[in-house]
Each structure stands twice: as C-alpha cells, then as structure tokens.
C-alpha cells in the first residue's frame, strides 16, 4: 500500500501563545514546534499499514525550511520519504489555498490512501483534509478512530467518531482519511530511526515546479483572510463561596437561580 501523509508543524499544545503587537501573527520566539498531534496519529497509522501490508509511506508538508524538523520526526518514526512544498508566494494561504497546493503535488503521485490529522492545533480550521479530498475527487472518512484495510478488495473500513457514537463506514480506495485521537498510540522515534532520518534527502518543490500561478495561492489566491488576531476576552474574577459545605452549596444554588439565572 502506498500511503501519503499530509503533515503540519505547529506550536506545542502547552506553548503559551502571545499575539504580536501588530495583530498579524504570534510571537514565535521560545515556542517549541512539533508535529501536529493529530498528524502524529496519521503517521503512526501509515507506518502500521506498511508494517502489515508492505508498501511505502511518504510525508508531505507545506512550509518553510524550518518545517523540515517535523518531516524528519515522521521519517524517524518510519516514513520512507518526505516532500516539502514551499514558495514565498504561499505566504497568507488559507485552508483552501493550502489544499490546492497539496492537491497539485499529489496529483502526480501514486497512492492508495491519504492520511491527515482531523485538524491542525494552530489554526484549528479542520478543512485541508476534506478540501483535498474534493480537489482530488476522492471519497473521505473524517475523524476516524479505527482503520482496517482490505487491499485485495481496494476497500477500507473506518470507525468515525460522530455525535451519536461511532459510525462504521466502508470506503473504496483511494480515499482521504482524517485521524482523531484514539486511532492509535504514536510511537517514539528510535535512535536508529533518528540517525537514518538525518540522511534522507527531502525533496522541495516550489510554485513553478508545481505549476501554480502566483494568484492561485497565498493571500491573493485565498478566499478568506485573517484580518487580525487578539487574545481571548478575559473573564472577570470569580467568587469563592465560603462556609460549611452544605451552606455553601445552598448559597451556590441560590446564586445560580436568582443572580446568574442559569438554572
């Protein structure tokens, strides 16, 4: 099975995020960048597929040179090759434009399935996987927690986390899947894997090589734009209700009913 993973490098989930004074981005100094946690599930799943069925795993990202760190983490985990798509004209791309860049690169590649994380924890858009499926005219199964392949029948059975519980969806391959927490336990890269990953040559493709017109990507090619970023509204200080537990609870219930009016 040939598996492609679309991966993004993002700030660690524990990082404290400070909006730049111009409101156009975040302060990147001091932030540790990691593989998007949902993409890690995708990487692990792809490697397990290779271990079970044979084949190869390619990891793709859209990003500047610094994002090769995330690609090398995936290589160290067990991916075979990596591709980085980057051009200064990509700056300002929204989800749709990012999916268009990926789609253009993937159109020329052979694959049985594409795995993405269900969303990146930086922009939290949760659009690229689905938009990519549409651009490549492939079926999709989003928020999956289990994946079982039947290579002979060119089919997969995916468990999706839906609002009512779990939907079991049979999908014909090739298809796009987006990984939800619970799909697997991502492995730590081995020392040997990390050494080997350092030697892998990462292919880089730019706008010209992909045949992307400058106005199809970046801010000009994006239908949406981030006007500004701001910190979330702060909550006014709360009130600790003192006293014996039974009295405090009575007072709490009274406040919730009479003052907050939420009961």
């Amino acid at each position: 099975m040939k598996v492609i993973i679309c991966l993004k490098q993002v700030p660690d989930s524990e990082a404290s995020i400070v909006v730049r004074s111009d409101g156009q981005g975040i302060e990147e100094q001091g932030i540790t960048f990691v593989v998007n946690p949902y993409d890690e599930y995708a990487v692990e799943e792809a490697i397990q597929i290779k271990e079970q069925h044979g084949g190869e795993v390619t990891v793709v990202t859209v990003g500047p040179p610094a994002t090769e760190k995330a690609l090398r983490t995936a290589l160290a985990m067990g991916a075979d090759s990596a591709l980085r798509l980057w051009d200064e004209t990509f700056v300002g791309s929204d989800s749709g434009a990012s999916a268009a860049i990926l789609a253009r690169a993937l159109q020329g590649m052979e694959f049985d399935l594409i795995l993405c994380g269900k969303q990146a924890i930086d922009d939290d858009c949760a659009q690229v996987g689905t938009a990519l499926a549409e651009l490549l005219d492939l079926p999709q199964a989003t928020v999956i927690t289990e994946l079982e392949l039947d290579p002979g029948a060119r089919k997969a059975k995916a468990h999706r986390e839906v609002d009512e519980g779990t939907e079991v969806l049979e999908v014909s391959l090739p298809a796009v899947f987006t990984a939800q927490k619970g799909l697997n336990e991502p492995r730590y890269p081995s020392l040997r894997g990390m050494m080997a990953a350092k030697k892998v040559e990462i292919e880089v493709r730019d706008s010209a090589s992909l045949g992307l017109a400058p106005d199809a990507v970046g801010a000009g090619g994006s239908k949406t734009r981030i006007v500004s970023l701001s910190p979330p509204p702060t909550r006014p200080p709360g009130q600790i209700i003192e006293g014996e537990v039974a009295d405090a609870v009575k007072e709490l219930v009274r406040i919730l009913r009479e003052e907050a009016k939420v009961l």
Binding site: P11, S13, I17, V19, I26, P37, S95, G96, D123, D124, C125, A126, Q127, T130, A131, A133, E134, P139, Q140, V143, T145, K157, E161, D163, E164, G165, T166, E167, V168, L169, E170, V171, S172, K181, A219, S222, K223, T224, R225, V227, L229, S230, P231, P232, R235, G238, Q239, I240, I241, V245, A246, A248, V249, K250, L252, V253, L256, R257, V262, L263
Partner: protein
Amino acid sequence: MPNGVAVFIEMRKGEARRVSLELLSQAREFADTLGKDVVAIVCGKGIRDAAGTLAQYGADRVLLVEHDALEHYTTDAYASALTEALRRQQPAIVLFGATVLGKDLAPRVATRIGAGLATDCTDLNVTGDGQTLKAYRPMYGGKVIAEVDWPHGGIQMATVRPNIFPLGEPDAARTAETETLEFVPSPEPARTAIVEMIETVGERINVADAEVVVSGGRGMKGAENFKILEELADLLSAAVGASRSAVDEGWRDHADQVGQTGKVISPNLYIACGISGAIQHLVGMSSSKCIVAINKDPEAPIFKIADYGIVADLFEAVPIVTQELRHILGE
C-alpha cells in the same frame, strides 16, 4: 448577484437540531438588517414536517431536497444535494452548525463551489454594505481569537458552534414558502457505505450541544464515581463531560472529553468537579457563560476562571447540590 442568508438545517430523528434553529434565529436578524431573505435548506428523507418549525424560527423559504439516498448522511450525496441547492439559491452567506456533520460537509461544498469558509466560529457580524460578513473564531485551541473576512467577495460560508447564538422565540404566525428540489443521485456506485452505527451516546445529551454540562476530572478517582455526576446531570437535563485525565484513565469515552483535544464548548452553565484546570482543558470550556468549580484544592487553576467556586471534596458537595436542586425542583 448573490443574496440572502442560507442555513443548512441538520436533521436528527426527523427534527432540526437545536444549533440549526439557533442559526436560523441569527440569520433572521442578519436578513432583516440586509433586507434579504432567509432560506433554510434541508436534505433527507421524510423531512417535510420540519418546514413549519423552520418558518417559525425565521425562514422565509424552505428548500427541501428529499430522496431515499439522503436518508442517512453521506458526504458524497449531501455534498451533491447541497451544491445543487446553493447553485440555485446563490446566497451571499451560508451557515452550518459546527457539528461533526457540518465539519465534514462544509469544506467539501465550499471547495466545490469556490466559496471561502470560516470554521468553528464563535461570533459573526454583518457589516458595511450589508453583504459583508466578519467572522470571529478561536485559534490555537482558544488561546487566540481571529477576525476573518472574505476580501474577494463571493459566497461567504461559516460553521458556527452550538450555543453561540440564542434561540429565538418561535413565531407561530410565521409561514414560509416551501420549494422542493429534485435530487438525482450519481449513477456511479457509491464510494462509501455506512456499515453500522454504534450509538454509545444513547439517551444522554451530547456534550457539544448541551446547555448545561457537568464535568469530572482526575478527582473523580474512578469510572464508577461518575454516577454522582450523572444523577446531577439528569436532574438538569445536562450532559456529562470529562477532562483529558479522566478520559486517559479510561473512565469516560473520548466523545465526552472537553478541551483542546476534545470538544470545545460554550454551554450556559459548566460545572467542573474535581478538575484542576490544565490549560488544555480551560481552552475547551472557558467560553461557557457561567462556570462553577468544585475542587478540594484551593490553588487549583480552575478557580481562576470560575464565576463561582466551592473549595470542598466533590464527593461531599456534589450529592448536596443534587439534593438541594431536587428539593427546589419539587421532586
């Protein structure tokens, strides 16, 4: 010339989901500002009865796309049906609930019709010439709020979280023009098929939709102890949520997890029991309208964002809350 506001109505068991009605109420306000129509688009089977309710919540027109192939949601069939409906309507704005279904469908349709999409919004404004939408959405798990617009015009699509816009009062006198759109399923064999639906949520209210959520964390000490939260939740018609620690311990299902790697929610009332308040949990619930924390550690970070706190052992305090409420509610 695109115009008007369209709301994709998500149906569950023959009824419109609450978030869809919240969006209709809000769309009504936008449309009144714009002097335009609100169209409710419903896909499914046996959906005609919904039209009356949709009119009462603000729809001027109800577009029904009814077909056996739309009885259960599948991406391909619904994307085709909705695309056709939108091509016919040419709305300026299209709204979806930011539910599992909305998140699966909206990017697919946006890509197909070449519309820009802002997902998981927590506020929307109509500004300027009255056709321009501004969306506000959390990023970095809620550590940042982004203002988003559509600089090149076109159809403006957004998915909006449940409980953001208040549900309007249904107006029994309102009626809507109902239109039916014929749906022709693709002659190709379906690329996906639902094999099974395992309903784990059961009768319990979904955390993402609930107006009241009672959540437990590591302080619950075990799966069996969530019973005391369920009793309180039942009394309040609330959902039971959990912190990541409680889910990682295997005490609750991931579907109930509140936080950055779970559900990000904004209920009217959030009661956190035995939850210390790690940042990844706080970003999932800090936009709740009222937050109550019960924790025996007075230093727990949850108290910093709670509106009301009680420093106590939850095993002592929670049953008293339940008892007190039962008394007041006259059971």
